[in-house]
Symmetry: C2
Subunit: 462 residues, 2 copies
């Protein structure tokens, strides 16, 4: 996913940061702390940029086990493989911690426009939606541009399929129609709701994602169609053409089933109880391969830790890679981690997450004290040579959100966001969209930051 | 479509032309003929660039009638509407000329990967393919990179589904796997064949297109899957994972049915029998809206003629807009036009086609005498102000190909080809992909060229 409140600002910032002027390596002025770590920082960067094991492992994982929705055997097989592989890597304290996660299954689904002319509609039911009760549901389509228009046209909506034809502006704004569109449509008597996929560009590519029903409101089927079809129906509606759509969805919720947060670490040589935690969410939607969202972030964080270990570096504090489960439709992994480590959070020095895709990184967004911010900026100077050392205020990640709210300083890897929402939650979020070099830059960036924070003499202040 | 032998070079040239340095309007040096037409040329350009009726009409046509495969009622409804609308426009000699066209119907179809994990595959059966005989066809997938590899691995192919995982290079090279892949696979005992969609970029977007069976070779089902899925299966194959796919296709051919070439004109004031013909192909594939391929080219050519009429210009020769039928899977329209006008072809002064999308135009590719080429270059100077006056040698179009082979000079509108093959033959070839301003530049470019050739004192020499 990418949580819509937290992440929108992060991504908006990304775009502007990419164009920042950054001193090149020859003229880079290292900070006070960075100076002490120049040798090891360079070592980490050089190794990360020339090592393709992480990239290849990501491909192997995605191709062998497939997409990883909570409750699926694909996800659990992936998690078992990660545990095995982390052990083979020689990471310490490798284990899984059980987390109960919701199981929603898409089942067979399709949509077809029958008027003004016949057309199969590429579609994806939205996570959590109910199905159509084992039968086709046919209705006339009422196209609206926003919730206000739906209210104004409330009496036209009765018995219809409401389509929210809302162009993408920011994720946070546009995703509202995906998230709560069904209940708003049900309140005015609609029999189903459709949403223009939440993304800025499409090649007939629908986007799924989570949705929710309001208590006490009738649950109606809720699905996404493509930008093209939504825009077309918007134009048809303006031309006065009657639009009819047939919808069939077997979507069903099955309650909670067990999954796990999986982790492995390098134990700190001097302060093993003090932890730098980094990772991503291992679950994905049930389409494509969940490559940028967030298989890439997971394997990049894992390989940042493996790389520090492989280089024989022995940081003073523990560095822990965590693959959180169920970020997409529950956030149960992040919450369980908080609950399991609630008594250790004072010793959680820093939490770091990568969940904006493994595109070219620019640095991190950080949420914590000004004193810590200054130190992280200092460390960031080590990354100037790969243009990824800019630390800005504000940022974190969905999975580390629960521990950040308990006071743990948090940071999110910031990357070029140009194409993230092209692929996000689509069947096009596949391994071929990952660039080797950009992936390695993400590994290098997280490894340098995690290593120095873990190894420096003073604890990162809160 | 875009014919693979003729068009590839056209598009390759497009890319290089876009970057040509063109004199800007203030310093443009007009040719001898152009100087006489500067006033009317400017009038046409100004009107074309400020008039959005053609663009809106294109949208109305696409949204009201849908995609337009030969043999479909959508196509015939569109043609009737064009006849009515051309008459309302006040064009002369508006009529249709019957053409028998092949009818192939896709029917319901789907593909699913069942191993190494379960995944619905976005797919499109290829035009002309047989179906799977009313049942699901399941097979192990043999992935090959080219025809040579298929021959080398011939004994592995027996009973399998062959996948040609061939990355896009040029359309002409890559389309071979779509066009004749089924028969090559059948020769080595495959039960079906799949092709990586013929395009350079995908967001899980399959491409259809025409295919053919070799006489005497068993006809097996032939379909396109996405770049993503083909690349993934290529990687799976290298990882040693067994891939299984289930294919279901109801595709069926129904023989020939009637369609028509539709045309309307401005009769020449002095030499009405001398004709400048321009147009595009009105049929499309049965997905998306056939917006760039070639609804846009058709309506742009039609509106180039309408605009000359609306401006009250009375060219000496006849200018005829033609919407050729069945370019995609038969070329029957272009051939019928040749046959119907075989005795008038000496009076066909110039044939012009737009079938590379209505992106930003750069000029024309021309096939004809050097003397004519020099005159057209001269006329092209009128288009310098909108950067669309570069005339290069070589070019034409599929529909005008039959009359060009009888000696009629021909030219193809050249446009920025960057994204043409992203959308080509996909469900993403929709009206939202048409840029208003670029569409109008296409109208202006064709209108100026057609008008001056029609009006100049001397006949364009052969």
């Amino acid at each position: 996913m990418i949580h819509f409140y937290l992440k929108t600002s992060t991504l908006a910032l990304c775009a502007s940061l990419i164009s920042c002027t950054i001193e090149n390596s020859s003229s880079a002025k290292l900070g006070v702390i960075a100076k002490q770590y120049q040798k090891n920082g360079d070592l980490i960067i050089d190794r990360a940029m020339s090592d393709f094991e992480g990239y290849e492992r990501l491909g192997e994982m995605l191709d062998t086990f497939g997409h990883r929705l909570s409750g699926s055997s694909n996800l659990e097989k992936t998690l078992e493989w990660i545990i095995d592989t982390m052990k083979k890597d020689g990471l310490e304290n490798v284990h899984g911690e059980e987390v109960m996660v919701p199981k929603w299954v898409r089942g067979r689904e399709y949509a077809r426009m029958s008027a003004p002319w016949g057309k199969d509609l590429a579609m994806l039911g939205l996570g959590g939606s109910v199905g159509t009760g084992g039968k086709e549901l046919e209705g006339e389509v009422l196209v609206v541009s926003n919730f206000d228009e739906l209210k104004e046209r409330a009496k036209d909506a009765k018995g219809k399929i409401v389509l929210y034809n809302v162009p993408f502006t920011t994720y946070g704004k546009t995703v509202q129609y995906r998230y709560r569109g069904a209940s708003e449509a049900a309140k005015v008597g609609a029999i189903a709701s459709l949403v223009r996929s939440v993304g800025p560009y499409s090649m007939n590519t629908p986007h799924t994602g989570t949705s929710a029903y309001e208590d006490g409101v009738k649950k109606i089927p809720h699905a996404a169609i493509t930008l093209e079809d939504a825009a077309m129906m918007g134009r048809m509606s303006r031309l006065g053409l009657k639009i009819k759509v047939t919808l069939y969805m077997e979507a069903r919720s099955f309650g909670d089933v067990p999954s796990q947060n999986v982790m492995g670490e390098i134990r700190g040589s001097e302060y093993p109880d003090e932890v730098i935690v980094l990772g991503g969410h291992i679950d994905s939607w049930d389409v494509g391969q969940g490559a940028h969202d967030d298989g890439g972030g997971c394997v990049a964080a894992w390989h940042a830790v493996k790389l520090i270990k492989d280089l024989g570096l022995k940081p003073k504090r523990t560095i822990r890679a965590v693959m959180w489960t169920n970020e997409e439709n529950g956030l149960r992994g992040g919450e369980a981690y908080r609950d399991n480590y609630i008594n250790d959070l004072d010793n959680h020095i820093l939490a770091m997450e990568s969940d904006a895709g493994v595109f070219k990184p620019s640095g991190f967004g950080f949420t914590g004290s000004d004193e810590a911010f200054a130190i992280l900026q200092d460390i960031g100077t080590l990354l100037t040579k790969i243009d990824s050392g800019v630390i800005t205020k504000g940022g974190g990640g969905a999975d580390i959100g629960p521990i950040m709210r308990e006071g743990v300083p948090g940071m999110g890897l910031k990357v070029d966001g140009t194409r993230y929402f092209w692929y996000h939650h689509t069947a096009a979020d596949t391994f071929d969209k990952i660039d080797k070099d950009e992936f390695n830059r993400c590994v290098a960036t997280m490894a340098v930051m995690a290593y120095v924070v873990a190894d420096m003499n003073d604890k990162l202040p809160r």
